[in-house]
Symmetry: C2
């Protein structure tokens, strides 16, 4: 599981910082999460293959999280994309994009499929045999969702030598990997646990931005491998956090601690702070395993 | 008169090239012409004061000419802009921008005034005592305008010593600057030309992008100081120019020659060409005074 941060600064793009966008690589998928202005250039700079992106998740309709989407969709067209593109985002996103493509007289030549969200309950957005993607309803100034990406448990690992020693026919190996008990060539019942070991532990990633401090999300992100939680402010400016519906580094760390996550990644820093290490320092008092997002940074778990 | 090229490459933004946008400084105005994705970052990199921009002109609604507009408008809001912003562009631009600001629940706190264009005849868009701005109707795949910026003649220059020698009262100097004849203290009629010289020659700038080769624009851009004319292709690819409604370098040079302009600036290069000097070489066979636009380049006339 790899996360590439394309942009992680709040509000307006600046000469050397980018608004929110990141790519999650999980089980051979490339998921694009949010798409601030300049995302397509950041994708190029980070050498991410445009054609591998088939699903884009937009948290909310503030410009710093989606103004780069229409440009990316247009570029896909110029690159002669043929495969489907799925866009998940708040209701209204389809109208915004469609209007612009219509007025430019340049509808896409590939299937562009919008999945508009408006529920305030958790929803399953995507599922295959390897993973699932669900919303994490967040509280912000406009309708907002975080996203939870969860791998599914893989097959059990076959202990080949043990299976051979017990004289189990090879045609039964598939059943063993699926956790079934089998009967050996000698007619003995072999319990699955005797010839398999547990599968690789599953990994999971929760993206939570933008949001006010909200303990209600804790049950949804329990024990995830990595949590990206916004920390727009430091506690020193905590009086700004609630009215703007953002969080402080300390609040993000409290959520991480209460959910028992393995890693916390902080981001969505207000550009008022010149040193992002201050966010780590503050959050470390509450939670230990902290990383700071920064544009171009990669995290592998 | 100064032109700063923020971006001048066709189609999609790339790691180190930007789509169309430029700033014209004329008579203490800063006019922004087109606004491709990433324009606000290019404005910062080129140290152009956001607050001095009061008029934005959008040629047409293809993404590489306006996808950066909504972001810039939003950033003005975050910067607490108070003064009016005037946006001139094709009909539909108001709906696109308004819809996005509405869904983000973040209408501007400054007056945002749209001037939507749909005439196929030349129109006067802006005028004050120092200059005027008119459309140059262009032919492209969608409704498109170029823009003509023209200084107005200033006052005549007073030859002060001569006026004193002829015993002209100081209160008449204003009339002299306006080209009037006056009567001296000695009762003599003094023809204006005896005590004034011609004003500074006026400057003018024509922006023509995107457009197919179209001699009909020649009368509108006669003898301008500088003409920016798109040259998406070289003659080698001239068979692509007409169907896509773009021009070659040679065609741009023909327009410059026929209009008798002083300087031709080429730009809007297709990213298929790795060396933009090829455009100069081709155009030079038709017209001598050629400059190549490039991102970050400034031209002063």
């Amino acid at each position: 599981m790899k996360i590439t941060i394309l942009g992680c600064y709040a509000a307006t793009p600046r000469s050397f910082t980018n608004p929110t966008s990141q790519v999650l690589e999980m089980k051979n998928h490339l998921f694009l999460i949010d798409c601030g202005e300049g995302t397509q250039v950041q994708l190029r700079r980070n050498r991410i293959k445009f054609s591998k992106i088939r699903h884009i998740f937009i948290s909310h309709l503030h410009g710093d999280h989606f103004y780069g989407l229409v440009g990316l969709i247009s570029t896909f067209r110029l690159l002669n994309r043929e495969q489907e593109l799925h866009v998940y985002g708040p209701k209204g996103i389809k109208e915004i994009i469609s209007l612009q493509l219509k007025l430019a007289n340049s509808w896409t030549n590939y299937p562009l499929i919008f999945h508009e969200l408006q529920s305030k309950e958790q929803e399953l957005l995507y599922e295959d045999d390897k993973l699932s993607v669900k919303t994490i309803p967040l509280k912000h100034r406009v309708y907002t969702n975080g996203f939870l990406f969860e791998e599914k448990p893989g097959e059990r690992k076959l202990l080949v030598h043990e299976a051979q020693r017990l004289n189990i026919d090879k045609t039964l190996f598939k059943s063993l990997k699926k956790g079934k008990d089998v009967v050996s060539e000698d007619g003995e019942l072999i319990p699955n646990s005797m010839v398999t070991s547990d599968p690789e532990p599953v990994k999971s990633y929760a993206f939570c931005s933008d949001t006010v401090y909200d303990p209600e999300i804790v049950p949804m992100i329990k024990r995830v491998t990595a949590l990206y939680h916004e920390s727009t402010f430091l506690e020193e400016q905590h009086e700004l956090a609630f009215p703007t519906k953002h969080s402080t580094a300390k609040q993000a760390a409290s959520i991480a601690r209460d959910a028992g996550v393995q890693h916390l990644i902080l981001g969505h820093y207000s550009t008022r702070y010149s040193d992002i290490e201050l966010f780590r320092t503050e959050a470390s008092e509450i939670f230990q395993n902290i990383s700071l997002a920064d544009d171009g940074k990669e995290f592998t778990f």
